[in-house]
């Protein structure tokens, strides 16, 4: 179980005109099951690219990506879709919820792709949205919208939760609430769920089990936090 996620020498090259540019330049690391991981790095470091590759949304130029023993870089489009449906929950900075569906329906749609989703109301209660179940996204605040997107992600009961700057658009108080929810998801399921958060906010690193620092497409450091702080201990 040591190497639940294993990347070896992953490269992602973009070609802009004649110039080739490595957004990821030989990235290797391993993450065991159940960790709460924070990926830190300045803007343009390749964090989103890395997360997209982990989530099966983007392909690699070279290198191997093994998730739970499967080499996903060899998957075709449909296999990737199934992989995303069954294993991955995504959370973005700008929520990406469907504007024409109500809160409840936004969570409900995972029923179309997952065999055994969690109960919608139960989840909405968990994220504190049960009162807003029949509202439309534009009737909610930013923090509430992000909670919808978390509810939708965890409704699938994913083994991996990938979050790209989840608190980036939120004030610090709301951000803390969101982080608590993410941590809760990590601890659920007997601590088997893995959560990976991309951020440029170094404070979040204090609560992580593992911190990976990225710069110019390369791993700068990969450290294990022996004593992660509780969220409330951190001064935000």
């Amino acid at each position: 179980m040591k190497d639940f996620i294993k990347l070896s020498n992953v490269k992602k090259t973009y070609k802009v005109g004649e110039i080739e540019f490595n957004a990821l330049d030989g990235v290797s690391f391993e993450i065991p099951k159940g960790e709460f991981v924070v990926i830190l790095g300045p803007s343009g470091a390749g964090k989103s690219t890395l997360l997209n590759i982990l989530g099966g949304m983007d392909d690699v130029t070279s290198g191997n990506v093994v998730i739970d023993g499967e080499n996903i870089e060899n998957y075709d489009k449909n296999e990737l879709a199934s992989y995303r449906a069954e294993n991955v929950g995504f959370i973005f900075q700008f929520y990406n919820i469907l504007p024409t569906l109500t809160v409840r329906e936004n969570v409900d749609i995972v029923k179309d792709i997952v065999k055994k989703p969690k109960g919608t109301m139960e989840i909405l209660k968990g994220v504190g949205l049960s009162k807003h179940a029949d509202k439309f996204p534009n009737q909610l605040s930013g923090g509430e919208q992000q909670r919808v997107s978390i509810a939708r992600a965890i409704a699938k009961n994913p083994k991996i939760l990938l979050c790209d700057e989840p608190t980036g658009a939120l004030d610090s108080k709301t951000g803390v609430e969101v982080l608590k929810l993410l941590k809760k998801q990590c601890d659920a399921n007997n601590g088997e769920n893995t959560v990976i958060i991309v951020t440029h906010n170094a404070q979040i690193a204090e609560i992580a089990d593992r911190v990976i620092r990225l710069k110019n497409g390369k791993i700068e450091s990969n450290t294990i936090n022996k004593h992660p702080k509780e969220i409330d201990e951190v001064v935000w």
Binding site: N52, G55, M57, D58, K77, N78, A81, S82, Y83, R84, A85, E86, V88, F90, F92, Q93, F94, N96, I97, L98, P99, T100, L101, T102, E105, D108, I109, V110, K111, D112, I113, V114, D134, K135, F136, P137, N138, Q139, R152, K156
Partner: protein, 787 residues
């Protein structure tokens, strides 16, 4: 700088702008082309009629003397009058020529296509240009014409068009002029041979030639020339009726005075214009409408896509008016170019092409489309609408605070929340809910989509429906009503012996048509009576197409449509007199019948005779096989009903080419509308689909969601389009065609199926094509676009 931005924007939205450009172009082209064609039809004829002085009245009689002519000329308001002798002659090649002998040519004067002007002193013939062309006759050739004992060898002096002969058929049962077999010709009456006139005079006197010579030692045939027509030119159109009455009263030889507006040539041409105006008005209107639809939707979208940029411009400090002007430029320039090209192509391609087609059918010189002011008006309106749409769309965005505009558009909740969150909607599948909301949220787009697809379905149904109706008409007319194979049209003065001989051979199933004038509330109108003694060889139907018998001898039957037009009820009396006889009769209406072609009066032979009028049949009906018989003595012409039906079907095949054109335009517009709206909703949905993809939805699942909506729209459109197609067809037939027709739409199930399947197919194929693009959605960049 902003101008450069506009050029860049146009470049990066090139397909949308091309769509707008093309739609404006097609819409304006179809409209102005068709309008300039129809207006051209009218002005071409008006010019020809006035420049070549078409007569206002035709006076018909057995013979008009010089005194008669002078008398007519002296009537108030008469500008000029000319006599002519008009006879139907044969050529040595067995063709028929309507041969006219004239003294001068100031009324209905010739348009010389090739050759020399008419002169009384010149021999030779001025010949129908179309006939000459069909028969390969040139100026200088000699033709031989025969009539009774007269034989004329005449050199062709010129090929001509005459305003009185735009459209000539040998007899009115022919639906289509046959220029190879039938034409007109003019010869100076100086050319009438003395023997012809003298023989006629001798016959009339009933004596031998010797005795005649003794009786009339100074017989000058020129004083005895026969003229059966006087063409009258009236000073003002409004005085026509005055002159008509005067001639009827004062000139004894005048059997009938007929307004030129009732002459076959005039009626046919006018009919073509009237008919065209409605058909064409409907179709050009539809094209314009559908084109506008897609211009509006596309323009709205293009501007909406600029939301972020509008916000940015505002944030930079541009004044609202400046931004508005900039975006109005989009709509204005593109649609202006489209409209200008549309006007040009409309005139030169559509207008010229259709006029060209008509001018090969109607014999009229210098046919050209006429470019009326309304074309500029419509083009202007189209440009205005495109500009206004960009104006309003932009203004809506400008009204928001810059910060809001900089954010992506979020749907307002109030549009979507009502009903769709409760009741049965709760249990619908996610994709249905999503589609319903999406449609409700974009009501305008949905309505336009439906309107466009309804138009497409309607046009298909209407095109095939017109064919159905025509086929139905052929069956009704030529096998239900005409229950015979041949109609023998008898010579006018056939002897009783001859008649009995024909009865013996072909049966005595006969009829008589009487030209009458009906007077109602002081107004007189030409009509005719069909006197039936055909023993069911001619059948009749009621308004539901069930057979009825016309066998009551107490009065007359009239057609439904005539009753409707003239407000007659059963029991009313019809007041009428036969042309050439001023005695009026009053007949009780005892029943209605329906006739698809002819709105007239029908009576039995017994009833006619009970009025004291002699029944002298003019037609015999028979089922004997006459396919090899060319000529029967005493018979003017033999009409083969199957040949007539075939002629009709020929005309249908002409119609078919036109319908193919309409159908392809319908399909083209359907494709453009669905594609256009699809592309719009596609870019709009791109981001949502990317989100679904991230969640793990498979491409197929997302495609299905996408196609579902277009399928709904297609189904709704079919449900609306089929009945609307029926009403359009019915309306076209009922109100658009000439008054003397009476048939409504008759559309078969097959046509509805074709319309439905065609619409579904168009919608499905386009959606599939669009759905394919979903496979190419790049999740990463689509979602990034939102950041």
């Amino acid at each position: 700088m902003l101008f450069r931005k506009m050029i860049r924007d146009i470049k990066s939205n090139v397909s949308q702008f091309i769509t707008i450009f093309l739609m404006v172009l097609i819409g304006v082209m179809a409209y102005s082309g068709i309008e300039s064609y129809m207006d051209g039809m009218k002005t071409t004829a008006d010019t020809f009629y006035s420049e070549n002085n078409l007569q206002d009245l035709n006076v018909m009689g057995a013979n008009f003397t010089k005194e008669d002519l002078d008398k007519i000329k002296e009537i108030d308001h008469v500008k000029d009058a000319e006599r002519k002798l008009s006879i139907t002659a044969l050529t040595d090649k067995d063709k028929t020529l309507l041969l006219n002998f004239i003294e001068s040519n100031n009324i209905s004067s010739f348009y010389i296509v090739d050759g020399e002007e008419f002169s009384y002193d010149l021999d030779g013939v001025w010949l129908d240009e179309f006939y000459a062309k069909e028969n390969n006759i040139k100026v200088g050739d000699e033709i031989l014409v025969k009539y009774e004992d007269m034989e004329l060898h005449e050199k062709v002096r010129a090929l001509i068009n005459v305003p009185d002969h735009l459209y000539d058929v040998r007899d009115e049962s022919e639906l289509y002029p046959d220029r190879k077999e039938f034409g007109f010709a003019y010869v100076s009456s100086n050319e009438i041979p003395e023997s012809f006139i003298k023989n006629k005079a001798i016959k009339e006197a009933g004596v031998s030639e010797d005795i005649f010579d003794m009786m009339m030692p100074n017989f000058n045939y020129k004083d005895h020339l026969i003229y059966n027509y006087v063409m009258v030119d009236v000073d003002k159109k409004s005085n026509k009726n005055l002159v008509k009455d005067k001639i009827e009263d004062e000139v004894e030889s005048a059997k009938a005075v007929i307004d030129i507006k009732n002459s076959n040539s005039y009626v046919q041409y006018q009919g073509e214009i009237d008919e065209g105006k409605t058909y064409v008005g409907v179709f050009s209107g539809l094209f314009l409408f559908i084109a506008l639809l897609s211009v509006i939707t596309t323009m709205t979208r293009v501007v909406k896509k600029q939301r972020l940029q509008i916000g940015t411009l505002k944030a930079l400090g541009f004044k609202d008016s400046r931004v508005l002007l900039h975006y109005m430029g989009y709509g204005f320039y593109i649609s202006l170019f489209g409209a200008i090209f549309g006007l040009i192509l409309g005139y030169f391609i559509i207008g010229k092409m259709f006029i060209g087609l008509e001018m090969s059918f109607f014999e009229i010189p210098n046919g050209k489309p006429y470019f009326g002011i309304q074309n500029y008006l419509v083009a202007g309106i189209v440009v205005l609408i495109a500009t206004l749409i960009s104006y309003f769309t932009c203004r809506k965005i400008l009204k928001e605070k810059p910060a809001e505009a900089l954010r992506n558009e979020m749907p307002s909740a109030k549009n979507t929340s009502f009903i769709t969150t409760r009741g049965i909607f709760k249990n619908l599948s996610f994709s249905s809910k999503w589609n319903i909301r999406d449609m409700l949220r974009n009501k305008m787009r949905t309505i336009m989509g439906i309107a466009g697809v309804v138009g497409c379905c309607m046009l298909i149904v209407c095109s095939f429906g017109m064919l159905d109706t025509m086929n139905r008409f052929i069956k009704l007319q030529f096998s239900d009503l005409f229950n015979f194979d041949y109609k023998l049209v008898l010579k006018e003065n056939i002897s009783d012996d001859k008649l009995n001989e024909l009865y013996d051979k072909y049966g005595n199933n006969t009829s008589l048509s009487l030209g009458i004038e009906i007077e109602k509330d002081g107004e007189k109108e030409a009509n005719n009576i069909f006197v039936d003694d055909s023993n069911n060889y001619v059948r009749f139907i009621d308004k539901d197409d069930n057979f009825i018998k016309i066998d009551t001898d107490e009065g007359v039957y009239i057609t439904h449509k005539l009753a409707e037009l003239k407000d007659y009820k059963i029991g009313d009396k019809v007041r009428w007199h036969i042309y050439g006889d001023s005695k009026y009769y009053e007949s009780k209406i005892i029943g209605f019948n329906k006739d698809p072609q002819n709105q007239n009066v029908t009576m039995t032979r017994n009833y006619l005779e009970s009025l004291g009028i002699k029944y002298t049949p003019d037609s015999i009906y028979t089922n004997k096989d006459l396919s090899k018989v060319k000529d029967i003595s005493g018979v003017e012409s033999i009409q083969d009903i199957n040949a007539l039906a075939d002629g009709m079907e020929n005309m249908l095949s002409m119609m078919k080419t036109m319908l193919v054109l309409i159908i392809s335009v319908a399909i083209l517009l359907g494709v453009v509308i669905i594609y256009n709206l699809g592309i719009l909703s596609y870019t709009e949905k791109n981001y949502q689909f990317a989100t679904l993809k991230v969640l793990g939805f498979k491409d197929r699942q997302i495609e299905r969601i996408f196609i579902k909506q277009n399928n709904w729209i297609a189904i709704i459109s079919i449900l609306l389009g089929c009945p609307l197609g029926y009403y359009l067809t019915d309306w076209l037939f009922k109100t658009a065609i000439e008054e003397h027709y009476d048939f409504g739409a008759y559309i078969t199930i097959r046509t509805y199926i074709i319309g439905a399947v065609g619409t579904i197919l168009v919608s499905y194929l386009v959606s599939r094509f669009l759905a394919h693009k979903i496979r190419n959605i790049d999740m990463v960049s689509s979602l990034k676009a939102n950041e």
